[in-house]
């Protein structure tokens, strides 16, 4: 049966669709816990650390959206052949990851069962232009249809329309993700976030994550031979992005350690020595997420599809932990007055939060494989 924008895919996709449903179901645990006990008891968040894994997850998923959208734009807007890889699949990953982001942030907001998020719609006309979250709503609400249009235009082989959808959608992705960083960045009382490099690091690392996703997709789709040259270009670009991230991370630690801001100085001590975030930062974010993938890419001389695949996975893992360290690190210390010592707060991820995060990964896969079931995602002719 022919679809208006493609062909129905073979049945084997159902297996992945069913598997992704099971992953979504993992999220049921958290959803039920919130229903029975409420958010405060179900989540690990506290008065002092009100943003936890669900916010981290949101910044992670929309980061993947940005990264994959950028790779797509390099192909459709800048017409760089090496990046013209599985265009339709990549565009669908962008949309799927954005929907997963919406899913996880929904469970972070008050009264998910009372649909209190609809107040955003009711009071939208308040035009709270000083609020980064208000802008976030505007930008992401605009981005989703644009990215969906990009998928549609790619499927229907409308090159010119795909060009504009990709150009506007990706531009919006960058602005939206920068605004998401601003949600943290705008808090002058939290010096770890309140730096000019914060948004830059968020955007660069998200783009690196997108390159990681593409390398993983090439390997899993068993098209490594076909994209031999692309793997080299992708690997080299990822290496460059990881180097950039390492430089930003390094100088952030050095410069912040010299800061006259006592809160920033104290916060940096969380990341060094025996600080509570030191292991996360050095092992997961720096070694696993940046240095090891760089090393593997070098060892493979940027040609090895297997090492590129592993590097891609590590980059994605590193992206998650960089968000964890940034979001939690900015909240762990406070003091009521200048005359008091800093109070170190605790944040422990709860089982409910983990289940909703895993469920969100399931949502990403589910939306993707649902698209793969109904649309022909094979090779773009653009």
């Amino acid at each position: 049966m022919q679809n208006a924008v493609g062909f129905v895919r073979p049945k084997h996709n159902n297996i992945w669709l069913i598997l992704s449903c099971f992953i979504v179901l993992v999220g049921l645990y958290g959803v039920v816990q919130v229903f029975l006990h409420g958010q405060e008891e179900s989540y690990g968040i506290t008065r002092e650390v009100p943003w936890g894994l669900l916010i981290i997850g949101y910044s992670f998923f929309v980061g993947i959206t940005l990264g994959t959208a950028v790779v797509g734009a390099l192909a459709h807007v800048f017409k760089i052949d090496s990046f013209n890889i599985m265009s339709k699949k990549l565009a669908l990953v962008s949309v799927s990851s954005l929907i997963a982001g919406f899913f996880i942030i929904y469970w972070d907001l008050a009264g998910p069962y009372d649909l209190q998020v609809l107040r955003l719609v009711v009071y939208f006309a308040e035009f709270k232009i000083t609020s980064p979250i208000w802008w976030l709503v505007v930008l992401y609400a605009s981005e989703l249809p644009l990215l969906a249009f990009e998928v549609y235009f790619l499927l229907s082989q409308k090159e010119n329309s795909a060009f504009y959808a990709s150009l506007i959608g990706t531009s919006l992705s960058i602005v939206a993700y920068g605004t998401m960083a601003l949600v943290f960045d705008a808090n002058s009382s939290r010096p770890l976030w309140h730096t000019s490099s914060f948004a830059l690091f968020f955007i660069i690392s998200a783009i690196a994550g997108g390159f990681g996703v593409v390398l993983v997709m090439i390997f899993l789709n068993n098209v490594t031979q076909k994209y031999k040259k692309s793997i080299i270009v992708l690997s080299k670009t990822l290496f460059f992005l990881l180097t950039f991230m390492l430089v930003i991370d390094f100088w952030n630690v050095v410069i912040n350690s010299y800061s006259s801001d006592v809160l920033l100085g104290a916060t940096m001590r969380l990341f060094i020595g025996k600080g509570v975030l030191a292991y996360n930062f050095y092992f997961y974010e720096i070694i696993l997420g940046i240095i090891l993938p760089m090393f593997l890419l070098l060892v493979g001389r940027f040609k090895s599809s297997v090492l590129a695949f592993i590097s891609g996975i590590l980059t994605i893992v590193g992206l998650f932990f960089s968000r964890y360290d940034a979001v939690i690190g900015g909240q762990l210390l406070s003091r009521p007055s200048e005359s008091m010592k800093f109070v170190l707060h605790n944040y422990s991820v709860s089982a409910s939060e983990i289940s909703i995060f895993v469920g969100s990964i399931g949502v990403l896969f589910f939306v993707y494989f649902l698209g793969a079931k109904f649309f022909n995602l094979e090779e773009s002719t653009l």
Partner: protein, 198 residues
């Protein structure tokens, strides 16, 4: 205690709390009165006001304990109001009180993050962020805020600092030192900490 505010709030008031630091004995009566009056959830981390114990040293190096009552500073330049995406957090023009309209709150907690004073908490029952209101309903009935009314040491004082004849203005005028918390944040808080010669 005689109320320092009028029956109804007038325009151009600048309501503030003036806390005489060394008169606080750390009895937590303010904490209890506030929780009871406003049905603040029993959870320890849910409070609109509390008293911190501050450890220090005297001139001879001996350990000391002093008390620091804290509450929402009803900042003139309130970052919690700026970041709110729906307008649920707002500041009354007539007296500067910062409030939360719980019917508009989506629970994003951006205001909790933005507040340098950790003055807000999330109320699961209301499904909204909540905070000190300077006891606005009590003010409207000609009463002082509950924490002021119950303060046994007379540490907490409340009134309109734009009125030079108010008790709080006189306290500020006669104070030997005046400070506000985290003034370098640029929030222009309306809670003053003073010492007096008495």
């Amino acid at each position: 205690m005689i109320s320092t505010v009028n029956q109804k709030s007038n325009k151009n008031q600048n309501l503030a709390m003036v806390i005489i630091g060394d008169r606080c004995i750390g009895c937590d009566a303010c904490y209890v009165a506030c929780k009871t009056d406003w049905d603040v959830p029993a959870l320890k981390e849910s409070y609109r006001t509390k008293v911190w114990e501050v450890e220090g040293e005297d001139n001879l190096g001996r350990p000391t304990i002093s008390f620091l009552p804290v509450l929402c500073n009803h900042c003139q330049n309130a970052p919690c109001v700026t970041v709110c995406p729906t307008g649920a957090s707002f500041q009354r023009e007539e007296d500067g009180i910062v409030l939360v309209n719980s019917d508009m709150c989506i629970g994003c907690k951006a205001c909790m993050i933005a507040c340098p004073y950790d003055a807000r908490y999330y109320d699961e029952q209301k499904k909204s962020v909540d905070k000190c209101t300077f006891c606005l309903p009590r003010l409207n009935n000609g009463l002082d805020p509950a924490c002021v009314a119950t303060c046994v040491g007379g540490s907490r004082n409340f009134g309109d600092i734009s009125d030079s004849e108010s008790s709080v203005s006189k306290l500020l005028e006669n104070a030997t030192s005046i400070s506000r918390l985290k003034e370098d944040e640029g929030t222009l808080p309306n809670v003053y900490y003073i010492t007096v010669n008495d």
